[in-house]
């Protein structure tokens, strides 16, 4: 009786020991695998760093080239003299300025979609110009009317745009359009001074934000304009 219990107990003890040894081996193996994995990850990251260094220098070269070409076009428009001497001066000057400040003009702009962006910009420009014109009529009316019905107030809203270029575009077009001035931007929150209640309401519908997001191709939201485009294409297909 006691012997069988003893045998069972030793069996159990052996079992536990075996299991523990297996666990330990597995742990050891997995840790070894982990270290090798981390090493390979490290190597891969190093390779990627090297690659991105190459990419960065290529990007710098591209920025340099584009900046100097743009500046040379600007020089030709400014100079309006087409003899060899002045063109040579122009090439020297644009290369010099591109060397001095090639990282300023295109520091964080993706250039791949420039054509789409330009097309959308020219498509959206008449709307913006119309808005600016109506804004000026509004201000002129307010300034010239004898009672001067202004009711200024500060409104604040959080934008969903992300890149700083589109923030700047939004802020400058807010400043230019009906009765509103961008006073401050703090961490994506716009403080806007509005001349009366109606324009504050107009701004809060967010149409301008959508348009700018559409022009500058901000990712990951759906824009009204895109939906309209798709609907038009669908209708044409039908």
């Amino acid at each position: 009786m006691e012997v069988t219990i003893l045998v069972q107990a030793t069996d159990k003890a052996f079992e536990i020991l075996e299991k523990a040894r297996n666990d330990a081996r597995e742990l050891l193996y997995s840790s070894a695998k982990l270290t090798s994995e981390t090493r390979s990850l490290e190597e891969r990251r190093k390779a990627r760093d090297f690659l991105s260094g190459a990419q960065r220098s290529r990007l710098t070269l591209r920025n340099f080239a584009i900046t100097s070409v743009l500046l040379f076009a600007f020089w030709i428009i400014l100079s309006a003299r087409f003899d060899a001497f002045h063109l040579t001066l122009g090439i020297i000057c644009s290369l010099l300025v591109a060397y001095l400040s090639h990282d300023l003009l295109f520091s964080n702009i993706r250039l791949g979609d420039a054509r789409v962006r330009a097309r959308r910009f020219f498509a959206a420009a008449p709307w913006f110009l119309g808005q600016i014109f109506s804004a000026n009529l509004h201000v002129a009316y307010l300034a010239l009317s004898p009672k001067m019905p202004v009711d200024p107030q500060i409104i604040r809203f959080k934008t969903k745009l992300e890149s700083d270029i589109s923030w700047v575009a939004l802020a400058n077009s807010i400043t230019l359009t009906p009765g509103t001035i961008t006073v401050d931007i703090r961490e994506g929150e716009f403080f806007v001074h509005a001349l009366d209640r109606k324009v504050a309401y107009d701004l809060s519908t967010g149409e301008m934000e959508d348009r700018i997001a559409h022009v500058l191709m901000e990712a990951d939201h759906i824009y009204i304009q895109d939906v309209l485009d798709v609907a038009r294409i669908f209708g044409a297909l039908k």
């Binding site: 428009i77 400014l78 309006a80 600016i132 014109f133 804004a135 000026n136 201000v139 002129a140 307010l142 300034a143 010239l144 001067m148 202004v150 009711d151 200024p152 107030q153 500060i154 802020a171 400058n172 400043t175 230019l176 009765g179 001035i181 961008t182 006073v183 401050d184 403080f191 001074h193 001349l195």
Partner: protein, 105 residues
């Protein structure tokens, strides 16, 4: 009087009208921020219209293109300058005037 001159005159006159409105706004509005509305918007539009009128008068040449460049520059620079002043005013603790309050400034 050829066609270019006839086209350019209305642009210049409308631009002058906006200049006038901006100046009167600058003089009449009750507080600093409202005055900025007048100068920031009115002057930009007026300069744009005047430059378009002048470049139409000049005709299609490199000088006209330069005028367009000045217009683009003003379009970038004027809202930025307005924003800079208004931000400075906000940081300096200027309270915007609200309807019903006594006119201080």
């Amino acid at each position: 009087m050829d066609l270019q001159q006839i086209v350019s005159i209305p642009f210049l006159l409308v631009g002058f009208f906006f200049f006038l409105a901006a100046t009167i706004g600058l003089l009449r509005f009750p507080d600093f921020f409202c005055r900025l509305h007048a100068t920031g918007k009115g002057d930009t539009m007026a300069v744009l219209l005047s430059l378009i009128g002048l470049s139409v008068y000049e005709g299609f040449s490199l000088t006209g293109l330069k005028l367009i460049f000045i217009a683009v520059f003003m379009f970038l620079a004027q809202p930025t300058a307005t924003h800079a002043i208004s931000r400075a005013a906000m940081r300096c603790g200027q309270e915007p005037w609200i309807k019903g309050k006594a006119k201080t400034q």
